[in-house]
């Protein structure tokens, strides 16, 4: 089976600064991959390359077996309809209300009629545990937790096979973050999509990830299940996972 995400020899350079050096990574369908790394190690850059917002200097990124940056615009569009992205700040369209934000990708398909879109939007809202009365609010009127939920609903609008999350719980208090992690896990079980995410929050990692890829020194130094990654002998992994707090979190969750 073709992997959901396939990175082959990805090298990224900004000027003379090397961010990634020959990265290979496969994410199988149904995996929940968590990409961790120190600040400035290029996690978000790699994520942006996966969704095709940024072209790597060398190497290829394939999703579902097709190049993200295929020269054919139809192939590019079809690939982009098969994944959903949740941005760190939500990136909701500020001029549109919650309903129109979620309806936007559905309308762009030009297949569904008004009543289908209406029902689908409210189904997505219910999925992310928001109430119908929230549909008419503007993004500026939402709380941080609600913004994440609406953004998740919009990312899920096209029934994606792959969900890409950039710091899904950043800026949420621990309680809300826990809820959100729970929500993503429930939805993943129901809908069976693959997840690739970047996070530095150990609770999120321990609560979701079935696989962990560690980015350090421009390369992926470990790519295995969370329990196995803990055993890897590398200074970054030692400091990241093996502080007193981290150990207790990981023990509790695994």
């Amino acid at each position: 089976m073709t992997p959901a995400i396939e990175l082959r020899g990805v090298t990224t350079r900004f000027g003379k600064v090397v961010i990634h050096d020959d990265i290979h990574l496969d994410v199988r369908t149904g995996d929940i991959l968590c990409l961790v790394g120190g600040s400035g190690s290029g996690k978000t850059t790699l994520l942006r390359e996966i969704v095709g917002l940024l072209a790597p200097t060398h190497g290829t990124v394939r999703l579902f077996g097709q190049a993200v940056l295929d020269p054919d615009p139809r192939v590019r569009r079809d690939v982009r309809r098969r994944f959903g992205m949740l941005f760190q700040q939500g990136a909701l369209f500020s001029a549109l209300n919650v309903f129109d934000n979620i309806a936007f990708p559905l309308r762009e398909l030009r297949i569904l009629d008004k009543s289908h879109i209406h029902d689908l939007v409210f189904m997505k809202l219910a999925m992310v545990e928001l109430e119908p009365r929230h549909a008419m609010l503007m993004p500026a009127e939402l709380s941080g937790g609600m913004i994440k939920r609406v953004a998740l609903a919009r990312a899920l609008a096209l029934e994606p096979e792959l969900l890409v999350l950039d710091e899904p719980t950043a800026g949420l208090d621990p309680d809300l973050a826990d809820n959100f992690v729970q929500l993503i896990r429930t939805l993943q079980k129901q809908l069976g999509f693959t997840v690739a995410m970047v996070t530095h929050d150990l609770d999120t990692l321990a609560g979701l990830a079935t696989r962990v890829a560690v980015l350090a020194g421009q390369r992926i130094i470990a790519d295995a299940s969370p329990a196995e990654v803990l055993d890897v002998d590398h200074p970054f992994i030692k400091t990241f996972f093996c502080s007193e707090h981290a150990r207790s979190v990981m023990r509790r969750r695994l």
């Binding site: 309809r81 098969r82 369209f93 500020s94 001029a95 398909l109 297949i111 569904l112 009629d113 008004k114 009543s115 289908h116 209406h118 029902d119 689908l120 409210f122 189904m123 997505k124 219910a126 999925m127 119908p132 503007m138 993004p139 500026a140 096209l158 029934e159 809908l191």
Partner: protein
Amino acid sequence: MATAAVEFSETPGTGIVRLSGDWTLSRLPVPLETLQAQLRDFAARGAAWEMSGVSRLDSAGAVVLWQAWGRHWPTTLVASDEQQAILARAAAISPALASQRPFSPLIWLARLGWLMLAAGKNARDMTALIGQLALDIVYLCAHPREIPWREFSATLYKSGALALPVTALVGFLIGVVLSYLSSLQLKTFGADIFIVNLLGISVIRELGPVIVAVLVAGRSGSAMTAQIGVMRVTEEIDALATMGISRTVRLVLPKVAALAVAMPLLVVWCSAAGILGGMVSANLEMELAYGYFISTLPKVVPVANVWIGIGKGFCFGLLIALIACHFGLKVRPNTESLSSRTTSSVVAAITVVIIVDAVFAVLTRRIGMPGL
């Protein structure tokens, strides 16, 4: 992966509808209407539904089915628990309410009313802003250490110094065109030398200030509105407030003051370029000597006109900056509002400048005219 398909088999009593394939958003047949009509037709006949052939079902597929069933469960449905759960989620959604706004023949009257109210509100807020600035000036007189010199000089540079090339170019070209067109007319009367009077009065008194005002409103006014607007969207203005820094002192006042200083200077600069352009054009077209032009200019154009031009520049600068800041502070935190406020800012600034220019023309009709 197969597209969503439907098959009907007639049996005595009722028929059975067998669904198969992927009932997912990406696999639904396009256009959807034929499938929908088919499904609705089967539902109307009261058929039994058999979903064991469906390999995947997502919410889009569920919604299509649920709506075809007329938003209630069919009498006989064979589906797995998972499929039932997905369909149940579609069933939980209340149908869309038709939201038709009643059309009123008097809607234009209401629109006019809203427009007047909005204009009134703008005028009131603008007055409040001017009042606040007056209070700020009094405060700064008492506490001169807090005068925001740095912001003042930054705006002076951005709106003044950086606008020099474009105002010179536009002024020069207007001068050339005006001189050329006038000389064609004047030549037929043999009144060539009056080009100096004509150019001098029109450029210095009228065209210079208005052209600079239009350029500055488009260039700096829009920039000011957008800057303050984005600062509101990103809550930077609130951040300033929590640091105990007044937004009017730090953001509005330096802009208004800097533009009130920069505009008169730009007017002089632009008028000079206009006169130069006219002079060159007159020389080429009518062979009017440069020396004659320069020596005649002060004789036929009373110096009061220069002061009127500078005074207009001062007023226009003040107004453009005030209007720009006023609209910037009214931006609501979304992109649509930002664009509409920036547009309003430029349109309002140019309109107000033209109106004030007309008022100036009436008030100064006895000043600076040759032969009066």
